[in-house]
Amino acid sequence: MLPQFSYVRPETLKDTVKHLSAGGAAIHAGGTDLLGCLRDGIMDVDKVVSLSALHDLRGVKETADGGLIIGALTTITEVSENPMILKKYPCLAQGASEVASPQLRNQGTLGGNLCQKPRCWYYRGEFNCLRKGGDICYALGGEHQFHAIFGHDRICIITHPSDTAPPLAALAAKVRTMGPDGKRTLPVETFHVLPRKNPQVETVLKPGEVITYIELPRPAGNMRSSYRKVRARRSWDFALAGAAIALEMDGDRVIDGRVVLSGAAPVPWRAQSVENAIRGKTLDDATIKRAAQAVAEGADPLPENTYKLDLFKGVIEEELNAVR
């Protein structure tokens, strides 16, 4: 059941930041994640600050240098259907279309998707785990078949839940914010926080800070990108394993590019071993095989999620075949 809270709907960004700067306030964009978090009692909130009056933060615009700028309040459905995104950044449109369910995509926003809380069933359940301020990670010694195999350091083994963050990171997108100390611009790639740094926060946002826009740089003329997601059921479910791939190609040859995994780690996980295996190479069967093998490098699987190693190999192999 929801706790008691007050609700405000400021009309300017300045007022929004002011409301948020007082402790105990939380942003409500689409509310699809926030209300669940409040119901599950995972955050102490007594004021809900709606962004819904900030109309400027919605929509997709082309920038002068041929990139795109997406308002944080743009819905996931809008992202998945926008013709410019579909044409220039297909992996982002695909990622967005793989999010949750149609209802949630209609209501949820891109900014909210980047800032959503993880979906560990201990964290969302009646367990006072490390991420909630408790002493232990229950998933480590408990039921973790859905959990991370990379980057967890056996501290907190959540997987980052977003399907839009991996494509955004692969596309070298940036997040613009506004906060009590003014504006910042941060790469999506470093926007999320690993447990070894702080197991109780998910993003580098400071108190009172709001995502305003997401910037996409102009894609290289011959970029191929794609997002693939495997899940336990085909809709309304988070990634068991996924991969966003954005490659700059010269014919069959990979000039450079990024591979970012979902369902893999507490943050969108850049698979540099895969990138290294394909950089400068022709995407033939042998390279793809080698790249798929390389995905397991640095993994620290746990007893119940070792299957993810093979799963990621399969995903990378299929995806590289799909973009070649």
């Binding site: 059941m1 929801l2 008691q4 369910s101 979906r119 069933w121 201990y122 969302r124 359940g125 009646e126 367990f127 229950y138 010694g141 408990g142 039921e143 078949q145 495997v230 899940r231 336990a232 059921r233 085909r234 809709s235 309304w236 479910d237 068991l240 394993a241 070792t306 299957y307 993810k308 190693l309 093979d310 799963l311 190999k313 399969g314 995903v315 192999e317 299929e318």
Partner: protein, 772 residues
């Protein structure tokens, strides 16, 4: 085995009969409305939102109830302090285990009776206190402001460990809830005669009901009369339970359950919440609405127990089955709930085999108690038996369809008596033909020989359902008003299956009236007649013959009245819906609305009783399902491409509601076989991990095939009852998962003995194969 068949109906009960036993109505050879595709009589109400479900009820001065539940799987309540809760805003009533009003009140689980508030909490979610307050939120906050001191006890979460010496005891008597043994023939002789013997251990997960509408009720007292609106499968079952617990006469408890949003067995009986709502309502002197949260329903309103089954089977090289040896263990949960009920029934009854031995052990664990779940025991048993049948077929080099056809029993071996009809052979044969089994098999083999990492398989499974013949008691009243309109009054619920619709069709068929003139009153103990709850696939075969009998009784009376007006003999009159006609001279006729005595009396009341079932035969539905799947062997992703359900449930009353059941059963079976499992945090806390619709994964529209086909195998069964109907709602989910498992085997060569088969499990097995 050991299923309490009283849940569904009473065997051997002497009942009044209308018409008299000698006057059995003729079997319908041809029908006008029955069997057609007719939309539901309440479709508009359901779709437009005007249908009022218990969750929608709002009474003047109504307040809301909330329950405080034990957060530990095993604990003793040492102290409860509700003093703060009582002073919180809006609070109207607080009940705890020490409230004087609850002293001596008991709660029953099958053969176990314990206190309503048991200070020994044996599962996470046991009730500890309850509060009523002006709003849901106030009630929830106050309930959770009650301070409870628990002595936390060691728990047992793994049913396979429950009988070990070191396992904590759920009950003082130990963790064995019950045992069952069955034997026929001589299995050692059977195995000796076999050319091939196989043995395998299978596991199925605990599945949770999760119906769309949450469990709950609204309770209201008017003096000493209690009215309850409950989301229920049977209003009379709620009435008798609540009256018994509270020690008040049945006549003082009125239960209403017009619309309800699904139960699948978990709403055959009321819950403690029903009684708590009634007690709170009394104390608050206001109506109390008590609708559980989704999270609560995952803990405490039932489940299909997990099972581990070992099956050893012998077969001759010509396909003759020579022996089955079956062992099964499963958990009732914290209280008797039928942890292994009916799991062995398919082994006993489905295929011809002279030598069979079955043993099962039902155990207690510290988790929510099982309740009947759509075809209790059967999908589990099917998971073992149907995979074993395929394995045997492979072993002796026989087509799996042929092996099954070779072993069609002539009688019900589990009961040693004949079936009234058995469609098992027809379901398998015609199902296989309609499905295009041979071509599908060929296509799959071709694809699997290609280099593609997408593999394909087809699979099947067949079934019988333990009951499904319905039976007495039931009473139905039909009123024919002087304007020719009709009122059908029956106690049965419509649990979403279309009961109202098909009963209207039976009435219309017998009376020759249009379905639109029939108004239905149902599921109200204050105004409608006694009916057992809708479970066991018994509502159609129980109620439809009763409805027909009531219609016949109306007809008999109206003919007698018309005979006076026309001055002819009653026996010479025919009833043609709107008119009554003299057989000897068809021009001599009278409109029903002109019948003198009807005009004066205003109404004719016909009463129908459900007559007895055939004495020496059993009435059971049969089925066979076929499916085609695809597996991505790189990622473990699976796709169910198509399904066909061929079901023999006697006469089809409405083809639309019939197909709904077939498709719904298949969808539920896909969940059982591929996505659903209860996850306890067994190693650390014993608490439930997945208690919402995201973590507990029901199949979505994208997980089930668009290509689903229903093939009714209609076989005339006049002996079963006067409408020739058998149950359908449960058999349709029995062989689904096992058919999928068999198809997955064909696609991958891997036997998935543990359900569900998720992409995680598929990946694990594919990887193990690569290494091994």
């Amino acid at each position: 085995m050991a299923e309490d068949s009283n849940v569904y109906y009473t065997e051997g009960l002497p009942v009044p009969e209308t018409p008299a036993p000698g006057d059995k109505p003729a079997f319908w050879k041809q029908t006008d409305v029955v069997g057609k595709r007719i939309p539901r009589v309440d479709a508009y109400e359901r779709v437009s939102g005007t249908a009022v479900y218990p969750s929608d009820i709002k009474l003047p001065n109504m307040v809301y109830g909330a329950i405080l539940r034990c957060p530990h799987p095993h604990a003793k309540v040492k102290k409860v302090d509700a003093s703060r809760a009582k002073t919180m805003p809006g609070v109207r009533a607080v009940i705890t285990g020490v409230s004087p009003k609850v002293k001596g009140l008991n709660w029953k689980y099958r053969n176990y009776t314990g206190p309503l508030f048991d200070s020994h909490c044996r599962f996470e979610g046991e009730v500890v206190a309850a509060v009523a307050a002006d709003t849901r939120y106030q009630a929830w906050d106050a309930a959770h402001a009650i301070e409870v001191a628990y002595e936390v006890l060691p728990y047992v979460a793994d049913y396979k460990e429950a009988l070990s010496e070191s396992a904590p005891k759920v009950h003082d008597g130990g963790n064995l809830a019950g045992m069952d043994e069955y034997e026929r023939g001589d299995i050692s002789r059977g195995f000796a005669e076999a050319d091939a013997v196989l043995e395998e251990t299978y596991e199925t997960p605990c599945q949770i009901h999760t119906p769309m509408e949450l469990h709950g009720c609204v309770a209201n007292w008017d003096g000493d009369r209690l009215t309850i609106w409950e989301s229920s499968q049977g209003v009379y079952a709620v009435q008798s339970n609540v009256a018994e617990v509270l020690g008040i006469p049945l006549s003082k408890v009125r239960v209403i359950g017009h619309y309800m949003g699904g139960g699948f067995g978990s709403k055959l009986k009321p819950g403690k919440y029903t009684v708590l709502a009634s007690l709170l309502a009394k104390q608050a002197a206001r109506p109390v609405k008590m609708i559980l949260t989704r999270e609560e329903t995952y803990l405490c309103v039932g489940n299909r127990p997990a099972n581990t089954m070992r099956l050893k089977a012998g077969v001759k090289s010509d396909g003759t089955l020579t022996a089955f040896e079956f062992e099964c263990i499963g958990p009732s949960g914290a209280y008797p709930g039928g942890g292994t009920a009916l799991v062995d029934w398919l082994v006993r009854d489905l295929y011809k085999c002279d030598n069979v031995r079955c043993r099962s052990k039902d155990v207690y664990i510290n988790a929510g108690t099982a309740r009947p779940f759509r075809a209790p025991g059967h999908p589990q048993g099917s998971w073992a038996l149907e995979q074993m049948m395929d394995a045997l077929a492979e072993k002796i080099g026989m087509n799996p369809v042929k092996l099954r056809l070779k072993n069609i029993p002539a009688i019900s071996q589990g009961r040693s008596e004949p079936y009234t009809t058995t469609g098992l052979k027809a379901c398998i044969e015609r199902g296989a033909q309609q499905f295009g089994w041979k071509n599908a098999l060929k296509r799959a083999k071709e694809q699997n020989q290609s280099a593609s990492h997408i593999k394909r398989g087809v699979g099947m499974g067949a079934c019988v359902w333990y009951v499904g013949g319905g039976g007495p008691p039931s009473t139905v009243i039909i009123k024919l008003f002087r304007d020719g309109s009709v009122n059908l009054n029956m106690g049965a619920s419509d649990i979403g299956t279309g009961t109202k619709t098909v009963m209207a069709l039976v009435t219309a068929e017998e009376l020759g009236v249009k379905p639109e003139v029939i108004q239905i009153e149902h599921a109200d103990t204050g105004t409608t007649q006694y009916a057992t709850p809708s479970g066991g696939s018994k509502t159609v075969p129980t109620e439809s013959p009763t409805v027909r009998n009531a219609a016949i009784d109306v007809k008999r009376q109206i003919l007698e009245m018309a005979a006076e007006d026309l001055d002819v003999r009653t026996a010479e009159l025919d009833y043609e819906g709107t008119e009554i006609v003299w057989r000897k001279d068809k021009s001599k006729r009278i409109r029903v609305t002109d019948v003198g005595r009807l005009k004066k009396r205003g109404v004719v009341v016909g009463v129908g009783y459900r007559g007895p079932n055939p004495r020496t035969k059993t009435v059971n539905p049969f089925g066979a399902q076929f499916c085609e799947v695809e597996v991505n062997t790189k990622t473990g992703e699976m796709r169910v491409l198509r399904f066909l359900g061929a079901h023999d449930s006697g006469r089809v009353l409405d083809r639309l509601t019939y197909d709904n059941q077939v498709f719904g059963g298949i969808v539920m079976g896909i969940g059982f076989g591929m996505t659903e499992f209860r996850q306890l945090d067994g190693k650390q806390t014993g608490k439930l991990c997945n208690r919402n619709w995201h973590d507990y994964k029901l199949p979505t529209a994208l997980d089930v095939p668009v290509d689903m086909e229903s093939l009714p195998i209609e076989i005339d069964d006049p002996e079963a009852n006067n409408t020739g109907t058998k149950g359908l709602g449960e058999p349709v989910t029995i062989p689904t998962a096992s058919a999928i498992a068999n198809a997955l085997y064909m696609a991958t060569g891997i036997r998935f003995t543990n359900a569900p088969v998720s992409p995680m499990g598929m990946c694990r097995r594919l990887a193990a194969r690569k290494e091994g």
